[in-house]
Symmetry: C2
Subunit: 224 residues, 2 copies
């Protein structure tokens, strides 16, 4: 990884056209040749960048330094014009062991499938990721009377999720072995608008208690 602090201007031509006026910035050049330009705020997003795979060509034209970064597949172009280099250092980092995550949608699905009776006594799991022509339904199960129920799981329940479940239900209800199929929209948090739309479509809403499903004290986790 090469760290450069420099006064530079940047031009990007690709999915859009963008320009950064001359100013001091951080330029990150990583081992995969990807380049990102950072200002002195915002943790997440660089001002400008080029994703791998790409190639960097360094040129010295009329005493002004120019770095051209070209994407290998799309031909997108990022051109840095450098007026003054204030810092330049390189470091060997090696490949990263990577991030270990917990608490995402897949895990919610897993937990709810394991504890399907959370939705009602006597309910049984048919299967997770029940395949349909337009995609997999998160969970297909049966209620205590044997009626089919399709469950759509989201971390945060939005209007889109209700639309998605609606499309699944429309399709599933064409299958005589399943019909009639009820819908349940399950999420850790459901937006009011999504709740209204769900009610209008005859879909029940269920709030998922992540920690409860894990059987852990429902308390804010602390590190130390």
């Amino acid at each position: 990884m090469r760290l450069v602090i420099a006064r530079c201007s940047v031009d990007y031509v690709g999915r859009l056209t963008a320009h950064l006026p001359m100013a001091p910035r951080l330029i990150l050049i990583k081992a995969d040749s990807s380049v990102s330009i950072h200002a002195d705020d915002r943790a997440f997003k660089p001002l400008n960048w080029m994703n791998p795979p790409c190639k960097i060509r360094e040129e010295d034209i009329d005493g002004s330094l120019t770095w051209s970064v070209i994407h290998g597949k799309t031909g997108e172009k990022l051109v840095l014009t450098i007026e003054e280099i204030l810092h330049d250092s390189s470091h060997e980092l090696g490949i990263d062991p990577g991030l270990q995550k917990d608490g995402v949608e897949a895990h919610l699905q897993e937990l709810l499938a394991e504890h399907i009776t959370t939705l009602g006594d006597g309910w049984t799991l048919v299967r997770r990721e029940y395949m349909t022509a337009i995609g997999p339904v998160d969970i297909l199960c049966r209620d205590h009377l044997g009626g089919s129920v399709a469950v759509e799981i989201k971390r945060r329940g939005d209007i889109d999720g209700v639309e998605q479940l609606t499309r699944y239900l429309e399709l599933l209800n064409r299958d005589p072995r399943l019909a009639p199929v009820k819908g349940i929209f399950a999420a850790q948090e459901i937006k009011p608008q999504a709740r209204v739309l769900a009610a209008d479509r005859g879909i029940d809403c269920v709030i998922l208690d992540y920690d409860g499903l894990r059987g852990i004290e429902p308390e804010n986790p602390t590190l130390f």
Copy 2:
């Protein structure tokens, strides 16, 4: 901006729980106190980060360096345990003049509004951003016969955009001053599935020629 290359492990507890094992990485500490941890690949996304507003507390416990970053509003926590610092430098950058963009949806909307006859001879603009209860319709106009037309503009036309326009049309058609309202889905590129759904809903699709609208040679832009 402070640049630190260090062997570190990272724990994040907040919207999810995540852990990075001990390894050499870049730690960026910006002027707004935001922190991001980068591996030696991927231009865009840090391995881990904390957005502003946040506070950093540095501690030296049992000879091992610990940086705790806590978000000011949500209480999210990022804890860095540092084993060895390989590089540490600070740089004054000042505030950035910012990115100038061109070619986004707003500009497409502007251009199409200016050249509304692109959609048909004798068509007239009613207004851009026509407000409804569920949000603004990109363009409302009238065709050569005076019939109302709602236009949804996207850079890339996806199934979501068709759903969105459908909701607007449903609402607009309840207004007796406007009904019946036709729909047009306009984008630089329209996905086949979106096209099928639009056809099914009686919505016309129009491909927007960005350079054509600008009156510029429809050629790939090159920098030099």
